[in-house]
Symmetry: C2
Subunit: 342 residues, 2 copies
DNA sequence: TTGAAAGCGCTAACAC
DNA sequence: GTGTTAGCGCTTTCAA
């Protein structure tokens, strides 16, 4: 094939329909279709169909300065927390003609910077940011450039961007109450790294819930990351170093909880017989772990959808204001929590 | 802010550097930098840096008819099989200046069509297709339009597109051998729907492996989908309808295997005591299931990387040929397989 | 080594 | 209701 690539342009359609290309443009765009004679419009549609015409989004975007794309910045698609969020975003974008451009940062500032430049070069109309340490330069620059953005699960520091998140405080409180009712008195919270805004929120909520619950003493340790590996290591350390073993653990998220389960197993401890474990997020496989994980369900798909909704609204209004949307969460009790050992 | 959005253009840089925009273009592109005086180039780079200039990819793409984007078509990002593949693709694309545009089809032909049109409208330079029933019209049209594509884990039917896949046959054979060595004689294969090319490949490999293994009798049933739910249902049906219960099951993939585990549990059967189970793919969670899943490890990240590599090569050469890359797989033995019951 | 000019494919003012 | 014209921001001949 010589020069085969989707070459049919608006001029091709125009000459086949016997009209000017401006008319084709009007006929093919919903917003301007009423300006053109119904018969002509039909002829144009027919010609476009026959030629397999697909408008060139780059040309359109260049003209309208509107790329109809949204940049989505996440740490790592491979983390099971993010795929539902991304799908939630896309579910909202797709029927509205927008496409998501995905950028994984692996929590590296260098990659964040490069990704952001790549997205800005593609002239994304807005950003959904679920990545961690982005507070700093990159996001600040984006804000100064007037880029619309919505934060997801991580606040924007001092930048006045909207934030969509789960209600961490009530989730943690529900977990503490659940454990207290099962008779647990020594509860450990394995928090995520301090540079994630959720880590602090959850740890604070944990301390508050413990101190307002009679007889419960809460301790907080920090994991180096929100991963299975980090959860495993942190729990190993707790089990070897501490004299008074906690009877229950509330993990910073489900991955950390899975790591805790592994650690317990390798130390010959049973869950929930010796130690109860609660996760956070309710990733898809929480119900298939061993034992099935009691966890705080966070509506991840909806978080994505909501973030996309708020972003498109800002784009349409050409203005945005700070705003925090806290979606309700709920404790899902499964097999990893049980009565405190006697 | 009035009119704030990334407005600095090549002309702004040109006037600040006191040169013509053509010179800026040459100075800023690696391929043409040698055409311009080193001093001038430095001045241009400085001006660009100072203004925070990021070239407009749409304008460039319009001019060069090269969008530097790749369309990635998958059924559902939420299926844990796909995130590693997508990351593998992006890992290869990103350092080369390409961006992936993701499209979820939910295995619907209507959505596939719409997604493909959206991608073609954005003038993607190529396609990685990991979606199912795409054989039909949409992909054929793309091929006729001269669009480059690489299939991933699903062949393209009669279309001469390259295919990247795992070595299904050796994986299944290894699983059968492993089970035979454990003394299993009645092995069941729960295949995926027939319209996925991998389903047939694996089922055929299963039959071949069984008939070439002394004393082993293999049966194949088909699940309605490659999902936990479908695996659960299919196994339920097997357990209630069949008189001679298989002592081992090789599932079409890990999700189906997890469904089988659920079914066994709900029927009061133990794994691997009563029935051994083998999965396929080795999704990340396979090691944390109950029991940990013996499964065929497929290098999903590498499959993505390889597909991207082949695609960019085709784009660069402006030509592509059919070709099948079969990546090696390996059996990972965990807790879900054990000796056949006496 | 640099500048001038044309044009990628589209939409939006402005005519008629 | 439709055609004409201009121009979005870039790269790439062609001249100088």
């Amino acid at each position: 094939m010589i020069d085969p690539l989707h070459r049919v342009t608006i001029d091709d359609v125009a000459s086949r329909a016997g009209v000017h290309k401006a008319t084709v443009s009007r006929a093919l765009n919903a917003r301007t279709r009423h300006q053109v004679n119904a018969e002509t419009a039909a002829r144009v549609a027919e010609a476009a169909e026959a030629l397999g015409y697909v408008p060139n989004a780059m040309a359109r975007g260049l003209r309208t300065s509107n790329s109809m794309t949204i940049g989505v910045i996440i740490p790592d698609l491979t983390n099971p927390f993010f795929p539902p969020i991304v799908r939630g975003i896309e579910n909202f974008l797709q029927p509205r003609g927008y496409t998501a451009l995905l950028a994984n940062t692996d929590d590296s500032e260098v990659i964040e910077r490069a990704s952001l430049d790549s997205l800005l070069g593609r002239r994304v109309d807005g950003l959904v940011v679920a990545s961690g340490s982005l507070y700093s330069s990159a996001l600040t620059d984006a804000h100064e450039a007037g880029v619309f953005a919505v934060m997801l699960n991580r606040d924007a520091g001092s930048l006045p961007y909207p934030l969509v998140t789960g209600n961490d405080a009530t989730g943690i409180a529900a977990a503490v109450t659940h454990l207290a009712e099962l008779g647990h008195r020594r509860i450990l919270h394995i928090a995520g790294p301090a540079d994630f805004s959720t880590s602090g929120t959850r740890a604070d909520a944990f301390r508050a819930a413990c101190s307002s619950t009679k007889g419960v003493s809460g301790t907080v340790v920090e994991a180096s990351a929100l991963s299975v590996e980090a959860g495993n290591q942190t729990m190993d350390k707790v089990l070897t170093e501490r004299r008074a073993r906690p009877t229950a653990v509330i993990a910073g998220n489900d991955l950390v909880a899975l790591g805790v389960l592994r650690s317990l197993r390798s130390h010959g401890l049973s869950c929930p017989g010796d130690v109860s474990v609660v996760g956070f997020n309710d990733i898809e496989f929480a119900q298939d772990s061993n034992p099935p994980l009691t966890t705080v369900h966070v509506p991840m798909l909806e978080m994505g959808t909501e973030a996309a909704r708020i972003l498109l609204e800002a784009i349409e209004n050409r203005a945005q204001e700070p705003l925090t949307v806290r979606l309700p969460v709920s404790l899902i009790v499964r097999g990893s929590t049980g009565p405190a050992p006697a």
